[in-house]
Symmetry: D2
Amino acid sequence: MSINSFGHLFRVTTWGESHGPAIGATVDGCPPGVPISETMLQHWLDKRKPGQNKFTTQRREADAVRILSGTFEGQTTGTPVQLLIENTDQRSKDYSDIMDKFRPGHADITYFQKYGIRDYRGGGRSSARETASRVAAGGLAREAIKAIAPGVRITGYMVQMGPHRIDRDRFDWDQIDANPFWVPDANAAIKWADYLDSLRKSGSSVGAIVEVTARGVPAGLGAPIYGKLDTDLAAAMMSINAVKGVEIGEGMSAAMLTGEANADEIRMGPDGPEYSSNHAGGILGGISTGQDIVVRFAVKPTSSILTTRKTVTKSGEDTEIMTKGRHDPCVGIRAVPVGEAMMACVILDHLLLHRGQIGENRGVIG
Amino acid sequence: MSINSFGHLFRVTTWGESHGPAIGATVDGCPPGVPISETMLQHWLDKRKPGQNKFTTQRREADAVRILSGTFEGQTTGTPVQLLIENTDQRSKDYSDIMDKFRPGHADITYFQKYGIRDYRGGGRSSARETASRVAAGGLAREAIKAIAPGVRITGYMVQMGPHRIDRDRFDWDQIDANPFWVPDANAAIKWADYLDSLRKSGSSVGAIVEVTARGVPAGLGAPIYGKLDTDLAAAMMSINAVKGVEIGEGMSAAMLTGEANADEIRMGPDGPEYSSNHAGGILGGISTGQDIVVRFAVKPTSSILTTRKTVTKSGEDTEIMTKGRHDPCVGIRAVPVGEAMMACVILDHLLLHRGQIGENRGVIG
Amino acid sequence: MSINSFGHLFRVTTWGESHGPAIGATVDGCPPGVPISETMLQHWLDKRKPGQNKFTTQRREADAVRILSGTFEGQTTGTPVQLLIENTDQRSKDYSDIMDKFRPGHADITYFQKYGIRDYRGGGRSSARETASRVAAGGLAREAIKAIAPGVRITGYMVQMGPHRIDRDRFDWDQIDANPFWVPDANAAIKWADYLDSLRKSGSSVGAIVEVTARGVPAGLGAPIYGKLDTDLAAAMMSINAVKGVEIGEGMSAAMLTGEANADEIRMGPDGPEYSSNHAGGILGGISTGQDIVVRFAVKPTSSILTTRKTVTKSGEDTEIMTKGRHDPCVGIRAVPVGEAMMACVILDHLLLHRGQIGENRGVIG
Amino acid sequence: MSINSFGHLFRVTTWGESHGPAIGATVDGCPPGVPISETMLQHWLDKRKPGQNKFTTQRREADAVRILSGTFEGQTTGTPVQLLIENTDQRSKDYSDIMDKFRPGHADITYFQKYGIRDYRGGGRSSARETASRVAAGGLAREAIKAIAPGVRITGYMVQMGPHRIDRDRFDWDQIDANPFWVPDANAAIKWADYLDSLRKSGSSVGAIVEVTARGVPAGLGAPIYGKLDTDLAAAMMSINAVKGVEIGEGMSAAMLTGEANADEIRMGPDGPEYSSNHAGGILGGISTGQDIVVRFAVKPTSSILTTRKTVTKSGEDTEIMTKGRHDPCVGIRAVPVGEAMMACVILDHLLLHRGQIGENRGVIG
């Protein structure tokens, strides 16, 4: 309960449950004068929308976003922007078989333990459906970033699905939009399709790792000590459903490096300092260096699988459950646009925060 | 700048630089009636204190903490607690050789780019010295937790140093306090000592992974969607100096698991639901399950090494630097009590938050 | 821009403009298990609704509130409650005569100076229409208070209109709902009707003072130093459109009293301490005493009057304006339910905050 | 407890009790590069310091402020500034006569009811001594304002003491620093001296009204709807000890005006829009107009008087108390520099906030 908001100056509050009439995002702190339309936002929602191919859930949602406030004559006014998405596919299905059972790996049990309420109509507030609201807010953030720091480009993609990693030597930005996995490696895309199709047919699921890169972010963003850029990104990504780990730059592998191997040496380039490598993921001391910001997060496999699992009922009896229904064999795929949205919100927030606190007076080297 | 605070209801603001007169923590929101003394807090500061063995920096700081406010007759009053630690070892050394150079891997360059100020006397605000303030605040949090949820036990330990991991089959809680690495594996402690001694002599450094476990945390803590328990822990750990990755439960490895392998099945035990495994790390949907909360974070190797590195000066000239001085070959060691402190602050914060929002009325199973 | 939210744990974010498709409130932090329905909220909205008698604006809005999230089977779930009110009476009128002129006394000019945007379709975000969202949120707060502190009763009423004050000796709680001014003095109601009718016909307007009393509030609420109960109430009331002053207890008149005259002496009553008087308005040191909480606020006269006033255009030319249209001769009347709503939100917020921070352990006298 | 902070981007947390070792302010969010010294801050603390003449308490505190962090080579660095003031005059007096009694009009009773703690050594956290920390923080805010908006001038002064008001026709800015009451009316200063001397001798006390004016504040500051400039000022002033009412511009008297009398007409001047009057107190819709910002607040009379009053003990017995000791016959006098400090903090906060959210792009008229 509470704390359904994130961001310091660009503040997003999401609301709504998977089976209520609507979900949405109340966005406070968007600068005025940003050109915006429902069409612009819809582009990003369509990227996340379920049911687009056989690899994602067959739940069919139009995910049509409406802007209810905060704009006038096609641009933001500086007042709160209300983004509303109706829930159109709330099947009036029979919940009697799961009404009193907790689905293992889902938040059913902890939501009940916390709130004393059992909303048995699917995940309710804990459903990944909530992330549609984030994508809408992220779309707005992207447009605002364009107005403030036009060079920034934010791109998410998958780098691992189950045991299969991409080949970094084959990394190709242009491949990302060319396959259903947003994977920057054409070979991987082909292999993963076979792998996932097989998993899907067996009713199983698998985890994944998503990477999001922000290019063109100016040096100097981040608010040490507790609003560091990496701190805020870690929170943003960990708040996404099913995420169990977050890495910046070398991430967990930094543990295996020596100081010599990990250091990013500096030299002067034509436009300021340049680095010989980017082990740091573009962030030093919580502040952007001007290099690419590189964040990765791991998404666990969907807990809804066609295998019977042991569980308990609300009244405390041992039982079993098999989660039928329309689910994703690899939710990591649809987490890609969500990760991008969170990156966009955090970058915009720190652009505004930096301006508020430092003005335009930064230290210039050289 | 700004945002030197964390926590929702138990709110900690740290202040101070490595070479100023003092550092400290302003702690707001500690419940009244918690027994507290400087001696109690000193216990935890001594655990983090440098110069205790050859494996940590030889900088000598008494790290004596004083309580300047918020207590009366040996207990907290509910008003802000000011914890002050004087800096006693600010060597008036000659900085002329690094005054205008940025140390690679350190935040010198980004702090300058952000603030336009070059505080050349060591790390200033970005120094790991700041973490002493966190440890003091964490000590207070531990005492408050005792009063509210006496069963909670928070323990940090190292699980990896460079390429060397612990053997999970040899995990022994009792070993943790028996070696300078707080490693729960007696064999590892012996091997690591040799390994690190050799690194130290060569002037190199190495990364590490620290794990922090909280046992006895009641089910129901965590504030979805953006104040989830894992979200707040990710932010807390990522805010520690040199941390590049954070994991909950399976962490990044969750990407490699299938739904069947990852699920934690549930059955009724004598005191409520029990789980057959803990892949989730004690958190589902951002809310504690009652199992152990398990968090890991990776600490990068110290960037201060005895190898010359390329860098630039404030005026934009290419140059080289070798960071002499008193540094840690593996800063991960001293990050252990810091990770514990952050865990304590987050757990206390969520105990208070849960009470504020739900009262004592939780859903009970069975 | 931004900061369209208030409250610490019961957090209300309002959104929407007078001439957009809808307005509403996103309410985060409402405890779970509170019985709620659209009908319950509609009761309070109807109290504020315009066009109910000749003394309020003839704009006709259904002000029908919809609950889009946060409830299940008739009670709150602990997740965000979205309250939406459609704007039905957005007359497509001709704005050409005021499009480029700033209305004196209105926020047209300052919104333009701040945001660089001129939303000429009425007040936009600065319109008093925004207060309907507050009333909806306040209705929810009232129901939550009932569940936590059932003895609390919150009542607003007018105590002054223009030069006419109520006679405190004739104060009668039962009169409040018996007249269009919510005035607790039957004689005043009659006189004020004549006075206001005359003003209305002349196209003029007048200010007012509203008092809101909360009875049955337990002792101990309030978070010194900067979240004092009176501090939060002052902010809450001053944030209402057209409010220019806020008083607690004696208010501004406290300046004229001596220490002897102002002191509220204490004696033991059957249920704890009692006070001989209530100059303090139920708050000492920012914390409730258990007496009635008494707040007053002054509402300035509507600036929209049928008299021509001097003003300037966007391009900087001197001009004149006369604001025609449907307006309130005394906006103070409709501020009564708004003041009640703000009181309800603040009281609930502090009930939750107190519980979070102190638990149930308060000091008991006797 | 908790919420000992105020401000959005310029965030001040005060800490400390009247009888502990020290008090202070942790200031987060001060921009870097602001020239600052202990001497600069001491100037403002000396203005508030007790014991300077017979009209203020004879408690003698050096009130010497130390800067413990956040500066380097005479200017701020953008990191938290810790301002510490030692308590030097903590008389080890005999408290046995008041140890178990609650002083009427003081917060002794409510602090006990809230926290369950009876700190009998004077006011503890609720003592007006806390305001010294605000004055220190306000001094820093003034210097930061100079750097951002050099034309701003903030001046506090008394306009009423007991029944005696100043004559507005005799208002003279130059008189303010020329008398012990900071009253802008030389005649009033003479009369008030006699009046207060007589009160002081009789052991009585009296209330006062303080006005604070900020001149030269640019148009466009303020964050509607809940961070309006007047909302934040109302909270800031109401949070000061003993304050019972806050007014902006016409304040409570706005209730008595008609729309015609209250409107501030607009015309173009050489530098932009000008107003024919300032009933609004420089704020429309929560946003500054560019006119003088005018705030008034009423301070109640000190409750510590030489007259015996009825009260109760901790154990619930009726008793009497007479508060001896060193107190102010009119605490309103020493509230003048406190009101100025709060104004400075709020103005700076909104300068930063506006810059963060709008950048430098404001709407320009003409």
